[in-house]
């Protein structure tokens, strides 16, 4: 595949980078990335990946745009209220870069459809807001041997890590199992600073581009945490998989995906 003059100009700031160059840009154009969740994290991820020229991007979300989303979900506008989030995000991504193909999946991702869906993609981005989805994405990615980027945000805090099959611990190595209903606050209950979604989502886009182009070091075996109150980042080394993990360990006890019950939002904080 040869880059057209328009592509050379559009992606010139990538091509200029020694670590990316024309080869890296072509890899991006040929890459397929699935973004699950078209909200706070999914918006900046989708926009940056589209701008970067990731050739095929899937976005999955069942929800529609709500007024309370607009404080942080920057791909959606006031005029998009009521519209499916995946459609709104797809339109924003295509407006930035008509060069990319966006597949919009307006549906709930569950144990019945996730494996088939992620199989089509090279890298998965978890932009979901609940633990049921996070464990489902982790388990499905381990089973399908797909790399993915995990992230979570809450209040003024954010975290992310990257899973690459066979190279480091998975999400379940670190967090074992679903916390019970209402044990852990969510953004909907506890709030989140809008720019936190931008910071962490952009870092997920960074991991994705680095994975595709084979650049630098990924957050494998490391949890990067960001505290917006103190403006401090920490890279916490994660222990390697101890072999006892229920999904990626030597003798996995989880052999089939399951759908956890979505915790309702009743916690008052």
């Amino acid at each position: 595949m040869a880059l057209s003059d328009e592509q050379i100009e559009r992606y010139s700031r990538h091509i200029l980078l020694k670590e990316i160059g024309a080869k890296g840009q072509k890899k991006l154009l040929e890459a397929k990335v699935l973004v699950i969740g078209a909200g706070g994290l999914g918006c900046p991820v989708g926009l940056y990946l589209a701008a970067a020229g990731v050739g095929t991007i899937g976005v999955a979300d069942a929800d529609t745009v709500d007024l309370s989303n607009l404080q942080r979900q920057i791909a959606h506008t006031t005029a998009d209220i009521g519209k499916p989030k995946v459609q709104s995000l797809k339109e924003s991504m295509e407006a930035i870069n008509p060069d990319v193909t966006v597949h919009a999946y307006q549906k709930f991702i569950d144990s019945s459809n996730i494996r088939e869906l992620i199989r089509e993609y090279d890298f998965i981005v978890d932009g979901t807001d609940n633990f049921a989805a996070k464990f489902l994405i982790n388990d499905a990615c381990v089973m399908e041997k797909k790399p993915f980027s995990h992230a979570g945000i809450l209040r003024f805090q954010g975290q992310l890590m990257t899973y690459i099959p066979g190279q480091g611990p998975c999400y379940r190595c670190v967090f074992k199992d679903m916390p019970p209903k209402d044990a852990i606050p969510t953004c909907r209950q506890a709030g989140v600073i809008g720019a936190m979604a931008g910071v962490i989502g952009s870092l997920q886009a960074m991991e994705t581009v680095k994975f595709i182009t084979g650049t630098g070091t990924l957050l494998v075996g490391q949890l990067l945490t960001y505290d917006g109150i103190n403006q401090s980042f920490r890279k916490i080394k994660l222990p390697p998989c101890d072999g006892k993990c229920a999904i990626c360990g030597e003798h996995p006890t989880i052999t089939e995906l399951r759908d956890y019950e979505q915790p309702a939002c009743e916690l008052r904080l």
Binding site: G39, D63, I153, C187, I200, I236, Q262
Partner: protein
């Protein structure tokens, strides 16, 4: 003795149990926080048996949701 907790060096009393440290640090929802000690995960049930030593490194890994999807 000195230990490193979440990246910060701290003086603690000799023979401190991991469980006591967690209380001392006022870790929120401690039963749902993953704890690593010197690059190893510690089972929640073992916390009251783990005696900290000088130079130990303890990290707390918190559950975090986020994004927006349901």
């Amino acid at each position: 003795m000195f230990i490193t907790v979440a990246g910060e060096k701290k003086e603690v009393k000799d023979g401190l149990l991991l469980k006591e440290l967690i209380e001392q640090e006022k870790v929120q929802t401690p039963q749902y926080v993953t704890v690593s000690l010197n690059d190893e995960f510690i089972e929640t049930a073992d916390r009251d048996q783990v005696v900290l030593k000088d130079g130990d490194t303890v990290e707390f890994l918190y559950f975090m949701g986020g994004g927006a999807w349901h």
